[in-house]
């Protein structure tokens, strides 16, 4: 069976005045219909760029320099801008961290929702209003009729994020890419939004790519996980396997550094140093200067992804 979305050896470069830097370095990913995938990593790991490159929205001076993206059997990475528009915001929707990035402060929620619909579908305005209402109900917004006439600033952060999800749902997309959708929100609201996303995926058989730095959130929400470090996926597989039996030292370190994984008051296990900047990636395994288990070969050879004993994939020479 072919996958709904495939990323093959994707490479994204940023052309800077000091030369090109590689932001995404040979990423392979697959996503099936109805599957939920968590893309985890620290800031600068390339997880957001990966998300943006899927819908071909990498901001200048970035560009896809190698590899391809296949969606529903078509190579969308080579699509023209115009053709891409049929996919972006239609078959693949994106949710951003800051709701105000998507919502225009000078238009009402209703106007923005209806316009999105009219741009993608050939329907009348009253039909569009009906769909908008239906989606607002779907994201469990109280009294959706009144929301249509409200402006973004009249709503709370949690409510805005729900509106964003409703807008993303308007065109019944097959994939939703959510980039840190709850980072700006409080825990109680975060839990509600995550519940909502999970529910939507189940009922509508939608696929979700959840991009976040929060391993705990991913471990609760998604079935599959891919951990990124310095532009590469270093470990991937079924979420519960990766979380309970991490094989890559970086994943292990990340999990152990979360307070709550050990007894209160004890020293947290920390990963020494920090992630290298993309222009200064060390030779060999990018993680080797911080790795506590490194061996000689790590400094010279780039590890290939290998199947681990628990069925996950990890790029580490120790396996």
């Amino acid at each position: 069976m072919s996958h709904l979305l495939e990323l093959h050896d994707l490479e994204v470069k940023f052309a800077l005045r000091t030369g090109d830097i590689i932001a995404i370095d040979g990423v392979d990913l697959t996503l099936d219909k109805g599957e939920t995938l968590g893309l985890v990593g620290e800031s600068g790991a390339g997880k957001s760029v990966t998300g943006f490159s899927i819908i071909n929205l990498i901001s200048k001076p970035g560009y896809i320099s190698k590899g391809k993206i296949i969606f529903d059997g078509e190579v969308i990475s080579s699509f023209s801008d115009e053709k891409m528009r049929e996919i972006r915001g239609n078959k693949i929707s994106m949710i951003f961290q800051d709701p105000m990035m998507t919502l225009n402060p000078v238009f009402t929620i209703g106007t923005q929702m209806i316009e999105t619909l009219l741009a993608h579908k050939n329907i009348s305005k009253s039909e569009a209003t009906k769909i908008a209402l239906e989606k607002l109900q779907k994201v469990q917004i109280p009294s959706p009729e009144t929301r249509l006439d409200q402006y973004p600033h009249e709503l709370s952060g949690g409510m805005r994020q729900r509106i964003i999800i409703a807008i993303a749902l308007l065109t019944d997309p097959q994939i939703i890419i959510a980039d840190e959708p709850t980072t700006a929100l409080d825990v109680t609201i975060q839990a509600e939004i995550m519940d909502l996303l999970q529910e939507l995926c189940e009922t509508d058989h939608m696929s979700l790519i959840l991009i976040t730095h929060d391993l705990a959130v991913v471990s609760q929400v998604t079935e599959e996980i891919a951990v990124m470090y310095a532009g590469k996926i270093i470990e991937s597989g079924a979420t519960n396997e990766v979380i309970s039996n991490p094989r890559h030292p970086y994943t292990k370190g990340l999990i152990n550094s979360i307070p709550g994984s050990i007894k209160p008051g004890e020293k947290l296990q920390q990963i020494p140093g920090m992630m290298p900047t993309l222009s200064k990636i060390p030779p060999g395994c990018a993680f080797n200067p911080r790795c506590l288990e490194k061996i000689g070969i790590c400094e010279t050879n780039i590890p290939e992804p290998k199947k681990t004993d628990v069925g996950t994939m990890a790029s580490c020479h120790l396996i």
Partner: protein
């Protein structure tokens, strides 16, 4: 029992956000009236910390925890109530009288990108408090001290001449901590010191704070929204909601046996790694604005246990058998099964 190092006694802090005189004029019932809009950020909060303890104040955004920290540091004057340092009232002191206390209490800020002056090198940032409080200290001593403190927080002293923008977020936070420590304070107020950092860096900074805390017998007032961090580092935890204190207990008790309905909801919402999400407690509605506080218990309109009394009467903080202090009528009347 010895005097607590810091006592927050019935502190109230309201902010007037009305603006100028013209903005205050309102037309109501056929009359012009002057009306002020106030944000009721902190309402009657009392807390105390003993030497060497870590008290965490947790709550969601807008609950007044950061304001409380700034009232403690004397950045805002409280509308009423007192701040006592080792039994001496400090909130009404003049700038000059306050100086000896400034040496003893320091603050660490949230945003490592905003908390360091971008135009000052690390050395000058660290030098300033030392020279100010010890005008007779020799330059040699000052530089030695800077070197010592930079080593302690894990920043290479050779980088002292660099500007903040040349450092990463984690390193900046270390420098910020160094500035807090350089006067050898007794109390550190830390306002969300790790929430802007990546997970692996967060662990480094938390370890640094805990280690220096132990080494220097520091007392921490820790402000954060991240409950897993709280559980890890705190002796006592205070939960705030909408400017009011809901619950105060020692860390172990609070996480094992939360009593206030809001604390329960908050704890159930923390995502825990490796656990598939069990059903968390859903709260009705949203946090009201601190401009128009709900009557009675501020939590009543979101609470499943609320009744008539909760709507009308503000709950007092009462101490339960296990030492937990909680402000809830339902707990008092045993309407909440714990």
């Amino acid at each position: 029992m010895s005097t607590p190092i810091l006592t927050i006694d019935n502190v109230v802090k309201h902010f007037d956000i009305t603006g100028g005189f013209l903005d205050q004029i309102r037309f109501k019932n056929g009359k012009f009236k002057l009306e002020k809009t106030t944000v009721k950020a902190v309402n009657n909060v009392s807390l105390s910390i003993n030497q060497g303890e870590t008290l965490s104040v947790v709550g969601e955004s807008g609950c007044g925890k950061s304001t409380l920290a700034r009232v403690v540091m004397g950045l805002y004057a409280p509308n009423s109530g007192q701040i006592l340092y080792s039994g001496k009232r400090i909130d009404n002191l003049s700038h000059k009288e306050m100086l000896p206390f400034r040496k003893k209490m320091q603050m660490i800020f949230q945003d490592p990108y905003a908390s360091l002056n971008p135009r000052k090198t690390v050395q000058r940032t660290l030098e300033e408090p030392l020279r100010f409080h010890n005008p007779k200290m020799s330059s040699k001593k000052i530089y030695d001290k800077i070197e010592e403190i930079m080593e302690q927080v894990g920043v290479d002293p050779a980088w002292a001449k660099r500007f903040p923008h040349e450092f990463s977020g984690g390193q900046r936070q270390r420098i910020s901590i160094a500035r807090g420590l350089i006067l050898d304070p007794e109390l550190i107020v830390a306002d969300e010191p790790v929430s802007a950092l990546d997970v692996s860096i967060q662990a480094q900074i938390l370890n640094l704070l805990m280690e220096t805390g132990k080494k220097r017998r520091l007392t921490y007032l820790f402000i954060t929204h991240d409950l897993s961090v709280v559980q890890h580092i705190s002796t006592n935890v205070a939960v705030m909601y909408l400017g009011n204190l809901c619950e105060l207990a020692d860390s172990g008790t609070l996480f094992e046996n939360p009593r206030h309905p809001y604390t329960k909801a908050l704890l159930s919402a923390i995502p825990k790694i490796g656990e598939t999400s069990e059903k968390h407690i859903k709260l009705k509605g949203e946090v009201p604005t601190p401009i128009h506080l709900p009557s009675g218990c501020v939590f009543h309109d979101r609470c499943v246990h609320a009744n008539e009394r909760c709507v009308n009467q503000i709950p007092e903080l009462l101490t339960l058998d296990n030492g937990t202090c909680v402000a809830c009528h339902a707990v008092e009347e045993n309407r909440v099964i714990s």
